[in-house]
Symmetry: C2
DNA sequence: TTGAAAGCGCTAACAC
DNA sequence: GTGTTAGCGCTTTCAA
């Protein structure tokens, strides 16, 4: 039978150091501006260390009206794109001594709302939105209302993907990355370029598509467009659709790596060789793409870095030390591997 | 400027319903055994609903000495094996109205310890260990000590992978699954079978290897063994090692899918055709393997289901309604796809 | 069946 | 530079 011994409380420390509760609290609080004699402070620290004192987060939270915990909200934790962001955020948070919560909405707006309401209820210190916003006024309005509540209890909100809400943000250069991908195909000599997008109402997809279009339309190319759902399965469907439509594309730009995996699988299934017959470019550079065949040319997004930057930003915001621009854009980089090559003369 | 209006407290509800705090609390607590008149109860519920009352988790936590939050501890959140478990757990928790925390140790025992200490500090209601234990007495002793502390404040601990600690567990049939995989190769006619294991001190790896051996040694086969690290990269290295050793294996059993992806990549790089020259079997059936070439024959582990079962078990344990065996073993299933075939007569 | 009241452990306003 | 004290919002005796 485990003994239910209470862990030492601040009162124990105060008693041990022969000071008042207030003095003990102030000595232990690194952010306190209240003057404390060095001797007292040291004594309190010693006793605290000896007793193994650790503040009770719930008591502190009840008093400060804020739970010192970070939360990351994702559309789908099984998407490696998000797992990487979570990994970066969770490492940075744990570094700062804060626990991390993860809420996955399973791609369902209703669940997302429910999750955020729960976080608001719990009064987490910061909520990082890893997924981008949906261009759905109604849903965005509800999210914004919850975010305001989080703000009003002193919590903070940070975006890690494009959002209509004017929150502080650490995002990647979706448009620039997509443009670089398109330019790469152009430079290889492709002229018949298809595009597989994410859902049309998802902002990060919109930005990437805009990047592709910037470049293609400048070159006078009107690439065929198929809408996917950011999942591997939808990538398969999209490729099948392009092939069935008899499109003569020699290259395809895909708006994320998960879909790209599906596209490659379907092309192979239908006997279309990559890159000999069709070049393929992804977006994200999630870890799994290293093991695809052929190795994928894709836009590398510094996912873990963005997660970590989001945590640091949240901490700065909470500490009132946030400087710099509201939106920080992290550069991306096209990584050329084996899935792209000059177009095959027999196609197109 | 956001107004800092307080959300309604229990006191507001009590006042609105013209009852005492105690009565309001009891009316709202579904688990309360205290008798309450039906009229009062209804009145309180009405007022609570009208006011949009939601209990403050921190106040409740301070009082009950437990934060009503679940935590999942993983070795690496970027490993799809664990993301799937987390997805299942987080969905089940959110279903039950509980937030979920995720702690990733980045494969580092020290970080794992730090994370668990943090969870203990935060007094989460339940900690689910998704990763299996390490056969390291010292580390396991420290973990066990923290788990006892969690127990002693009334929290609960559940294992989702094999562990030496005698915790309640929801695990998959590692040994049986591995045996089925080995049997499959045997039935196809393979006799030269190599094995790529996980780290030798990781218990889930040990169990899988035991399953392979059960079957192979019964057939009088001594498969060559290479130790990997459960990562894609280590799979590449393992395959390179086997090939370099001039081993004449016609099939290889790999202890998890992440490594299998690396194995396939390396075999391809070295021009070894799968399954014509070498058959490959994985373990886990993570989503990404659907898109490998060739499609992977692997042991399907009900990852999300195990995560969800872990949450339910934790809730039962907390509610004192846990029945059934301490360790529940979830069956696995060999999924035969295209990476296995009868051995090539020219090899071996 | 209801209510009064005592805290849970901590912070911060207000004395001194 | 230190101490006293009043809560934060809730659950749970104990008393009626």
């Amino acid at each position: 039978l485990p003994e239910r011994r209470r862990p030492p409380s601040l009162a124990d420390v105060a008693r041990g150091a022969r000071v008042s509760l207030a003095t003990a609290s102030r000595s232990l609080d690194p952010a306190s501006t209240h003057p404390i004699s060095e001797a007292t402070r040291r004594r309190v620290h010693e006793v605290a260390a000896r007793l193994g004192y650790r503040p009770n987060p719930m008591a502190r939270g009840l008093r400060t009206q804020r739970l010192w915990t970070l939360a990351v909200v994702v559309h789908d934790i099984s998407d490696p794109y998000f797992s990487e962001v979570v990994r970066g955020a969770s490492a940075a948070a744990s570094e700062a001594g804060l626990p991390t919560m993860v809420c996955s909405s399973e791609q369902t707006p209703g669940i997302e709302l429910k999750n955020i309401a729960m976080l608001r209820q719990t009064r987490v210190a910061a909520v990082l939105f890893a997924g981008s916003g949906l261009a759905d006024t109604n849903h965005e309005r509800k999210i914004a209302a919850l975010a305001r509540e989080i703000d009003s209890y002193g919590g903070t909100v940070v975006a890690l993907s494009p959002r209509s809400e004017r929150w502080p943000a650490e995002v990647c250069d979706n448009r620039g990355g997509a443009a670089a991908a398109a330019r790469h195909l152009l430079e290889l000599g492709h002229r018949e370029i298809a595009i597989v997008t994410g859902p049309h109402h998802v902002r990060s997809s919109m930005e990437r598509v805009a990047g592709y279009r910037d470049v293609l339309s400048e070159a006078g190319i009107h690439g065929e467009i198929v809408e996917g759902a950011f999942s591997g399965e939808s990538g398969e469907r999209a490729a099948a659709e392009l092939l069935a439509a008899g499109s003569r594309f020699t290259a395809v730009l895909v708006a994320n790596d998960a879909m790209t995996m599906g596209v490659l699988a379907e092309l192979r299934r239908q006997g279309v060789r990559v890159p000999e017959e069709v070049s393929v470019v992804g977006f994200g550079d999630i870890p799994a793409v290293r093991y695809l065949t052929p190795a994928l040319t894709t836009v590398r997004v510094p996912l873990a870095k963005i997660g970590a930057a989001g945590v640091r930003r949240a901490l700065d915001l909470l500490g009132g030390t946030d400087r710099g621009p509201r939106v920080r854009v992290h550069p991306v980089e096209l990584v050329v591997r084996q899935s792209t090559a000059a177009p095959c003369p027999s196609r197109g």
